[in-house]
Amino acid sequence: MKKLITSKDFIIIAAALMLGAALFLARGFSSQGETVVVKYNGEVEKTFPLNGEYYEITVNSVVIRRENNEVYVADSDCEDKTCVRSGKLSKKGDAAFCVPNRVSVEIEGKGANSPDAMTW
C-alpha cells in the first residue's frame, strides 16, 4: 500500500459517483408529489395535500410548514437539525427526518396502483 491512490481506488470512486449520479437522476425525474405524510414513531400523525396555502403543524416539537406548495421542517429542538437542513420537499419520495424526535415528513405521489381515472 505504497501509493496514495491506486487504480482500484479510481474504479471504486468512479462506480460510487455513477451510482450517486444515477440516484440523483432518478430523483430528478421523480414526479411531483401529491400528499404530505407526517409520521411520529412510525405512525401516521397527519396527512395533508402538498398543494395549498400556508399551513403549519408541530409534531413532537418539530415544526413542519407548507408554503408555496412546498413543505419543509422549519424548526426542531433536536441537536443535529438534519431535518431542517433537508430543505424543501415537493417531489414524490422526498423526505425529511428528525430521528431524535422520531418525526418524519414524507412526500407521496399518486399511488402506483391508484387508477388514472374513475368511471361512475
Binding site: 496514495l4 481506488d9 430523483r27 409520521k39 412510525g42 438534519t82 419520495g93 425529511a96
Partner: protein
C-alpha cells in the same frame, strides 16, 4: 493503544460536532473524520480493537446526542468497520482512499438502515442520492488523512512495542 485511538476518535467526533453545521448544508452529512481512527485500527490492529472503537463512538453518541444517534452510529460503524477489515485483510490493490469511500458508503447505508428501522419508514431512502455523493467526498478525505497520518501512528505503535 486502543485507548489512545478511542480518544482520538472521540476527539475527532467532538471536533466535528463543534463545526458550524451551516458549513455542511447537506442533510446528514458529516466529514466522518473519526473514521480515520477506526480505519487505522482496522489497518494496523485487529478486529477486536476496531470494534471497540466503534462501540466507544456509539457510547459517546449516546451520551452527547441520545439513543437514536447511538443506534445509528453503531449500525453505521459496525458496517463500515466490517467493510474496512475485509478490504484491508482480503482485498489486494485497494488503497486507503478506495477503502475510505467504500467504508463511508457502508457507514451511511448502516445509518440509513438504522434510521429506517427507528422511523419505521422506508422513505429514508430519499436521502440516499445525497449521501452517496457525500460518501465519495468524505471517503477521499478520510482516506487521505489516514495516509498522511499513517507514518506518525506507526511510529507510536513501534514506540509502544519497544516499551514492552
Amino acid at each position: 493503544m486502543t485507548a489512545l485511538l478511542c480518544a482520538a476518535a472521540l476527539a475527532l467526533s467532538f471536533a466535528e460536532s463543534a463545526l458550524p453545521s451551516a458549513a455542511f448544508m447537506l442533510p446528514g452529512s458529516k466529514p466522518g473524520l473519526s473514521n480515520t481512527a477506526v480505519m487505522f485500527a482496522a489497518l494496523s490492529l485487529g478486529w477486536a480493537q476496531t470494534f471497540m472503537i466503534v462501540a466507544a463512538k456509539a457510547v459517546f453518541a449516546l451520551i452527547t446526542r441520545g439513543a437514536a444517534a447511538a443506534l445509528m452510529s453503531l449500525c453505521g460503524g459496525v458496517l463500515s468497520a466490517l467493510c474496512m477489515l475485509l478490504l484491508f485483510k482480503k482485498a489486494k490493490g485497494v488503497g486507503c482512499i478506495g477503502t475510505g469511500v467504500l467504508s463511508a458508503l457502508c457507514h451511511n447505508a448502516g445509518q440509513l438502515a438504522a434510521a429506517a428501522a427507528l422511523m419505521k419508514s422506508g422513505a429514508v431512502a430519499g436521502y440516499a442520492p445525497v449521501l452517496v455523493l457525500v460518501s465519495v467526498v468524505t471517503g477521499i478525505v478520510t482516506g487521505s488523512v489516514l495516509k498522511a497520518a499513517l507514518p506518525y501512528f506507526s511510529k507510536i505503535i513501534k514506540a509502544k512495542e519497544m516499551e514492552k
